[in-house]
């Protein structure tokens, strides 16, 4: 079967073409690419969860709303200020870096020494605050990117049709993840992040300003989420105040699936989740689309409680 070009409103449908109508070979490749594109966006968001958790063992439940904020900033810049998509994405990333740092400073830092539950409740509070704020400013209807925001064309590779949008998503995600890996492995602040995540107190004893490391971690994670927001906004051509909820939950599932605290784990978890979800839908279980992500999560955790690449939790003495 040849994929038709769908009107942009129905881009979402293109993802989930019925598997059974097609020759299995071509559809496999097709769905794999669809899955990788979707999974890349999950991975981008999941990285923020996993990095923050790795350093201060907090599930930042406001992370999905940072993703949403990134999508709106991108939409505004493209729609109102007619900025180029890449420029808009860069600005959205900068905006969300600041947003993430401010959230940490206002909502989490004062609670650093209180119970973990207090910080978690604070995170949920921030999440509700941000989505309500977006609802007030932008209204309840989903907004779309203008048609000309990114010219979508289909490219035929073998038996599969890839859209330029999918290539954009995969390329941008890959580039961001390579950059992240470079920062974490090679730079001074990245090494300090790893040290802090291994042993918070000892990192402080070495003269590392841990507060600055934590701010930097929030900035990095939020920038990735913002990029994810713009890409998802383009992909589904819909940006809405509540888009952070499900995307956030799925990315969180991806982070746990890969092993929370592990950066490669979040990347792998996101891809596994995206690919499985797309194949599940292609096999005809489209009404269970969201359930698939969480079903995999439950299954993997039953077999491997630490996640795919997670390390065994060690109780610190």
């Amino acid at each position: 079967m040849r994929l038709q070009y769908y009107a942009s409103r129905d881009k979402q449908q293109r993802f989930f073409t019925d598997f059974r109508q097609s020759g299995a070979d071509s559809m496999f490749l097709q769905q794999l690419i669809n899955g990788i594109a979707l999974g890349s966006t999950y991975a981008l968001i999941a990285l923020g969860y996993t990095m923050v958790y790795g350093i201060i063992t907090l599930i930042n439940f406001a992370h999905g709303e940072i993703f949403m904020a990134g999508a709106f900033v991108g939409l505004l810049l493209v729609g109102v200020f007619k900025l180029n998509v890449f420029l808009a994405m860069g600005c959205a990333m900068l905006f969300c870096m600041a947003l993430g740092v401010v959230i940490e400073f206002v909502a989490y830092r004062p609670l650093r020494r209180s119970s973990r539950l207090s910080a978690l409740i604070s995170a949920i509070g921030v999440s509700i605050f941000l989505s309500s704020l977006a609802l007030m400013i932008f209204g309840a209807n989903a907004k779309a990117f203008p048609e000309q925001a990114f010219p979508v064309q289909q490219i035929r590779i073998g038996n599969a049709d890839i859209s330029t949008l999918q290539i954009l998503i995969i390329a941008v995600s890959a580039a961001l993840m390579v950059t992240l890996e470079f920062i974490v492995q090679k730079t001074r602040i990245g090494k300090a992040m790893r040290a802090t995540s291994e042993d918070y107190n000892t990192a402080a004893l070495m003269g590392i300003n841990v507060n600055r490391v934590i701010s930097f971690t929030f900035a990095l994670g939020s920038a990735l989420a913002a990029a994810g927001g713009v890409l998802v906004g383009l992909l589904f051509n819909a940006v809405s105040f509540n888009m952070g909820l499900m995307a956030g939950l799925k990315a969180f599932a991806a982070a746990v699936l890969g092993g929370i605290g592990s950066i490669p784990g979040a990347m792998l978890g996101g891809l596994v989740l995206g690919v499985t979800e797309v194949f599940g839908v292609a096999l005809g279980y489209s009404s269970y689309r969201d359930a698939i992500a969480f079903a995999i999560l439950v299954l993997v955790l039953l077999v491997r409680p630490t996640g795919l690449l997670g390390e065994k939790m060690q109780n610190k003495v």
């Binding site: 001074r188 040290a195 042993d199 990192a203 402080a204 004893l205 003269g207 300003n209 507060n211 003495v317």
Partner: protein, 234 residues
């Protein structure tokens, strides 16, 4: 060099330190000895700024450093080798040393520091790319000491450096401590191994349930019958 006055610390309802006072002079090795839970590590962690005191003051080189953040205290030249070594296990030996030199200004100073560490501990040079968790206990202790020396501290705080090591290695560690002292670094040493600590130290304080109960020259304390009975196993 270091003057601790009337220091009190509590963890929730538990009083860990009750009005502890002591001082460390420049160039000295001073030992804090005492049983488990006497508050020895708490003292070091309060000096390093990890634990906030309830009351009292810590003066370093004539300036008050109480309640300063840990990284400022390191920048002033006070560095700690924490209890249980606490090397960054997933990071390489070289990266561990880089973390020790985090407060250094530039790459040149860092490279010089690493070279100095490798000269002092040639074994670490051989394993520079290895993850720190693959080292043996003794090697990890050497790495922990080398890492703390990276910031060129003027006051080195050592928390139980002999813990869990074989007797031969314990001797080697104490030789290193003496050598560091000869190079001009002042040392505050916390030890349960009182005989080794008293052998290397100039002066010592004995702690019991958060209070200083005895103090004096190390040689004198080693001859004190009470100390011999309680801490030297006689």
């Amino acid at each position: 060099m270091l003057v601790v006055e009337n220091l009190s610390v509590s963890y929730g309802a538990i009083r860990a330190l009750r009005g502890v006072s002591f001082h460390v002079g420049g160039g000295e090795i001073v030992a804090l000895i005492g049983a488990n839970g006497a508050g020895k590590s708490t003292i070091l962690n309060t000096i390093s700024g990890i634990v906030r005191p309830l009351g009292g003051s810590i003066g370093y080189e004539g300036e008050e450093i109480t309640r300063q953040p840990p990284h400022r205290i390191v920048a002033r030249g006070v560095c700690q080798v924490p209890e249980g070594r606490r090397v960054f296990g997933r990071m390489s030996v070289q990266e561990n040393l880089e973390m020790g030199g985090y407060t250094l200004a530039g790459g040149k100073e860092l490279a010089r520091g690493i070279e100095r560490a490798f000269a002092l501990f040639p074994l670490l040079a051989e394993r520079r790319r290895q993850a720190a968790r693959t080292l043996s206990g003794g090697e990890q202790q050497m790495l922990a000491i080398a890492r703390a020396l990276m910031s060129s501290p003027r006051l080195l705080l050592l928390d139980e450096p002999s813990m869990g090591l074989a007797p031969l290695l314990v001797e080697r560690i104490f030789e290193i401590i003496a050598a560091i002292s000869r190079d001009g670094t002042t040392i505050l040493l916390v030890e349960q191994n009182a005989s080794m600590a008293l052998a290397v130290a100039h002066r010592a304080y004995v702690l019991e349930s958060g209070e200083v109960v005895l103090s004096g020259a190390a040689g004198e304390l080693a001859r004190n019958p009470e100390v011999r009975r309680a801490y030297l196993g006689e």
